[in-house]
Amino acid sequence: MWKCAILLLAVSILPSAAYSYSITNIEDYTSLDDLTPFGTQVTEKVQYWLGTKDGWMQEFYHKDSSVDKEDFGTLNSGWQGLDESDFHWHVGHGLHGLTNDGDIALYDYSIWNPGRKVDSWMVEGKWDLNNEWVVFQSCYVLEDPNWAAALKYSHMHLGFETVTYIDPNLPEKFFEYAINKNWKIFDAYKKATIETFGGDVEAAVYIDAREQINDHLWGHGYVAPDEYPDDNYVYHYHWGCE
C-alpha cells in the first residue's frame, strides 16, 4: 500500500522531462515502395504531442538507413534501443508472406537481402529495461503473436494484424485522446484506429498483465506496475476498424 502511495506521489511530482520517447521512421526504401513524406509527418506528430506539448525527452530518433535491428531492443546489454525509452513509435513497412510471418522491414530489405528485417524471436523476453509502450505502425506485424513474448516488463504492444495505411492522423488522434482527454492508452489507440481507417484494417494490442489495460501515459493518470515476476500469460485484443 505504502509503495503504491510513494509511486503515485512520484508520478504526480515528476516533471514530464523525466519521461522519454523514441521514434524509428523508415520511409525511404531501396526496394520497397517509399512512404515519403508520410513517415516524417507521423514523426512530427509524435514529436509535437510528446515533446512540445507534453514535455517528454526524446531518447532517439532514427530514420531510414540509420534504423537498425538494435533500435528494436534486440540486445539485453549495452545500448538497448526502444527499451531505453518509456514510449516508442515505429513507422514503416511490415512483412508477411512465404518467408516472413510479421516482421519489420529495414530500409534495404529485398528478396535479395532477406536478412534485413526484425523478427519477433530477436526480441523475445528482451523488453525489460525502461520501456512501457510500443506502437508499430506497419502492416501485418502483430499477425505474429510471438511479438507478445518481447513484453517481459514492458506493458503493451500496439499495432496491426492486417494491412494498414500510412496516415499521420493515427498519432494525431491517439495523442489527442491520451493527452488532451487523459484516456487510457488502450482506449485512445482503439478510438484513433476506428477514426482513421476503414473496414479492411484489423488493429491489435498485446498486454503483458491484466491490470495494464488501465495504463495512461505518464502524467495523465494511473499506470499499472510492471509484471514481476514475468508470467506466461498475455492479453490479446483485436478489432476491425469498420
Binding site: G94, K181, W183, D187, G198, N232
Partner: protein
C-alpha cells in the same frame, strides 16, 4: 566465371520480369508487380459507368463520442445483449442524435473479446467485452469507403451505450462528373496511385471492381466526396483489402 554469373543473373531478372507480366494461362489473368506488390486481376473490368453524381460537402453531422471519459473498451462484460438486440439499442441510441440517417445501411454486428493466451500451451480463453454495431453510408446505391461515412456504436452490459462514433458529412448534389474507365483506374492501381498507401508489400487478388465514394476521417477537410474506383481484393491470408483510385481526372479541383 564472375562475368558468367552476372550474365546469368541479368538473364534471370529479365525473364522474371517478362513472366510476371505475361498472362497466366491457368487463370486467364495476369500477375503484375508494382509498388504495392503483386496484383492479380480475377474479375472483368467494366466500361460503365462513365459518369457519376458529384456531392459537395456543405456541413458536418459528426459525433466524436458520448462523453469525455475513457470508454473502457477492454473491460470484460458478462451481461451483453444478443447481437440482434444490440442493433436495436444502437438505433435507439442514435435517436438522441437525429436518428439513423436515410442513407445508412447496417454493415456489421460483431461481439468483441479479450483473449487470455497461455504462451506455454497456446491455450486461449476468450471473454466478451462489447458488441460493435456498424452502419455504413451508401449513396446512389454505391458504397462510401474510407474512415468517413460510418457510424460505430459500442453496446455494453444490458444495452448500455459505451461509445458512439459518427463520421457523417452533410452533402449537396453538385451535378454530374465524367469518370475514367475501370481499365485506366487499374493501371493507376498497378502504378501505386491509390488514395491510401499500404504499409507493406502485398500479394493481392482483385475480386471485384465498382464505383463509389471515398470519405476522409475526423480532422480532415473534404470539399467533395471523392468519386473512386474501388478495388475489392483478397490478400495472401484471405483478408479483405480495399484500395481506391480517384475516378475523376480532376485537373486541380479537390475531388
Amino acid at each position: 566465371m564472375k562475368r558468367g554469373v552476372i550474365l546469368l543473373l541479368i538473364l534471370l531478372v529479365g525473364l522474371s520480369a517478362v513472366i510476371l507480366r505475361m498472362p497466366n494461362a491457368a487463370f486467364g489473368n495476369s500477375f503484375i508487380l508494382g509498388p504495392i506488390g503483386e496484383i492479380e486481376l480475377k474479375t472483368a473490368l467494366t466500361d460503365s459507368p462513365t459518369e457519376v453524381n458529384l456531392y459537395r460537402v456543405v456541413g458536418d453531422e459528426s459525433i466524436e463520442g458520448i462523453g469525455n471519459t475513457s470508454p473502457d473498451y477492454g473491460k470484460v462484460r458478462y451481461n451483453l445483449p444478443s447481437e440482434e438486440e444490440a442493433v436495436k439499442f444502437a438505433i435507439k441510441a442514435l435517436e438522441r442524435y437525429g436518428g439513423l440517417p436515410e442513407d445508412a445501411v447496417l454493415s456489421k454486428v460483431q461481439t468483441e473479446y479479450a483473449e487470455v493466451i497461455d504462451t506455454d500451451t497456446g491455450k486461449v480463453d476468450r471473454k466478451p467485452t462489447l458488441i460493435k454495431v456498424t452502419f455504413k453510408r451508401c449513396i446512389d446505391e454505391m458504397p462510401v469507403i474510407g474512415p468517413g461515412g460510418k457510424i460505430v456504436v459500442y453496446i455494453g452490459d444490458n444495452g448500455e451505450v459505451v461509445d458512439l462514433t459518427k463520421i457523417w458529412r452533410k452533402l449537396e448534389y453538385a451535378g454530374k462528373v465524367k469518370i475514367i474507365p475501370a481499365k485506366e483506374a487499374f493501371e493507376k492501381l498497378v502504378k501505386g496511385e491509390v488514395i491510401m498507401k499500404p504499409m507493406g508489400r502485398l500479394k493481392l487478388k482483385v475480386t471485384d471492381v465498382e464505383v463509389g465514394y471515398y470519405a476522409v476521417g475526423f480532422g480532415k477537410k473534404q470539399e467533395y466526396y471523392t468519386p473512386v474506383w474501388i478495388f475489392h481484393c483478397k490478400d495472401h491470408l484471405g483478408n479483405n483489402v480495399t484500395l481506391a483510385v480517384k475516378a475523376v481526372d480532376a485537373g486541380g479541383e479537390d475531388f
